[in-house]
Subunit: 300 residues, 2 copies
């Protein structure tokens, strides 16, 4: 079967960019906006999605379903989809593209496989397709990940990691462990320095000795609160992944705590479209420090 | 009083480089090698230290004592010095230059201040003086940190952070939180990837998307086990510092665990002088992964 219609659930920050890239590549793109936020509806409209109305219709009309959502919702949507597969008799391919641990991906997969459909473990590395020059990578693994290879194109680079469910998620988790782990590590040390009254010395030492880290700090920290809320769960999934591999799970418990801190600031209420780009790093650190102490992350 | 004789306890990796820089700057440099390792004795000889024999003699002959040792020994040596001050009646200035939390520095200070001497909180940022072009920074704070300003020179840049004991340690802790924190974070994710069979994808993604992080990984990870043993305690001091500031202490509990993992490998038995520089990053990761799972760090 050739893939002609791709369903994306849901067309949020990452999902709507997938829609734009797939639309450009000639696929019919569908979704279900029932119960979605106004912002997601706007993003879906911008991406040219067709709202087919119900999950049953998504399953009937889609050849491939991409689940792109916060980690905490990944199992719930898979259950809904599995139920719709059973009631409609349609069995499209289902790829979980969420930032979840290999273990969670295997659990999500049981619902889809239990409904008699093909489950593909997938993991997205990088920003939304089309938001930069080079393509966004998408790892896939599982007994039959070929259907996802059909969406390989100029903005989406699909990389096959073999037959084992969990490999794609593992690669995604380890990559995000470093990127989001380091941003939250920097935030933690900088906000502690702010609270301890040594920001000036720390900033000066980093500028001089670690210019590439300083550049990353200046670029990432002021916008981190915008995404922090939906990344708390991702950090918990990474902690689980590290622990299951026998490595320390503490770093990403810390990352979850720091994401919670950032999510508790007023900056977290802004969006990528409307956030205050003139706010300086120092102003952000002042705001973050006002919200100390961190609360213990829920899954510790 | 002008500083003429500087005592360094002990002249190990960092301490002997201090000796070399101070010797070049015209100071008389003394130490006490009683009970020290063969390696420390060799380093002391190389640096031209005069072994005065006992702690009492260090206190009698030194104008300024620099305590440069593993964090766990910082209070013990301060107690010994305080005792010697009381028995000899000599009260040289004492600077604790160790990687300890502001809280630990205050505790160390009570012994020196209790003996009637001047206590200076200090923190060293960067490699040993003279091992690179620009000077190594040394933060100092306390009611009278002027005596340490005397050793300011081409290889040692003394930076005064004011009258409060703890400020210098805080600045040092926050800086090391980022440098050693990020090296251990990278190690954790890379060793997990190795265990999960996704090293190839992770390395390739990092090389492409995070070249400066990849360069740091290639430079630092193979030699990290050489210092890991003496850095476990430093990571625990950082965890305490982060927690006391209200920030997450988890990152550096993880860093301590990963330092312990590295210290449990055979590479940890090599030294800076004799380690195998031809061992590749991939070989190192293989060795690290063989020593998983991490043990829970002692102070968790």
């Amino acid at each position: 079967m050739t893939i002609e219609t791709v369903a994306v659930l849901s067309p949020g920050d990452m999902g709507h960019n997938y829609g734009i890239a797939l639309d450009k590549a000639g696929f019919r793109i569908i979704t279900c906006l029932d119960g979605r936020s106004e912002r997601t509806k706007e993003l879906a409209l911008k991406a040219n999605f067709e709202d087919v109305g119900s999950i049953d219709d998504v399953v009937r009309e889609g050849d491939l379903i991409l689940s792109i959502m916060p980690p905490a919702n990944s199992e719930g949507i898979a259950k809904e989809i599995a139920k719709a597969m059973e009631s409609t008799g349609s069995k499209p391919h289902f790829a979980d593209c969420n930032a979840i641990s290999p273990k969670t991906s295997k659990i999500v997969g049981t619902h889809i496989i239990g409904a008699g459909a093909n489950y593909i473990d997938a993991g997205i590395v990088g920003p939304g397709p089309g938001t930069r020059e080079r393509p966004t990578s998408m790892y896939v693994s599982g007994p039959n990940s070929k259907p996802v290879m059909d969406i390989n194109g100029p903005h989406i680079e699909v990389i096959d990691l073999g037959a084992e469910i969990g490999k794609a998620s593992a690669a995604k988790m380890c990559y995000a462990a470093i990127t989001k782990g380091s941003w939250t590590l920097y935030t933690t040390a900088l906000v502690a320095a702010e609270a301890l009254g040594v920001s000036e010395q720390l900033h000066s030492a980093l500028k001089q000795s670690r210019p590439s880290i300083w550049a990353d700090i200046e670029k990432m920290l002021p916008r981190l609160p915008l995404d922090a809320g939906r990344w708390i769960g991702e950090m918990e999934e990474i902690a689980e992944t590290m622990g299951a591999a026998g490595a320390s799970s503490h770093f990403h418990r810390g990352a979850a705590e720091t994401m919670e801190l950032l999510d508790s600031t007023p900056i977290a209420k802004e969006t990528r479209e409307n956030y205050d780009k003139d706010r300086t790093l120092q102003q952000c650190l002042g705001i973050f420090a006002e919200h100390l102490p961190v609360k213990s992350a829920s899954k510790n």
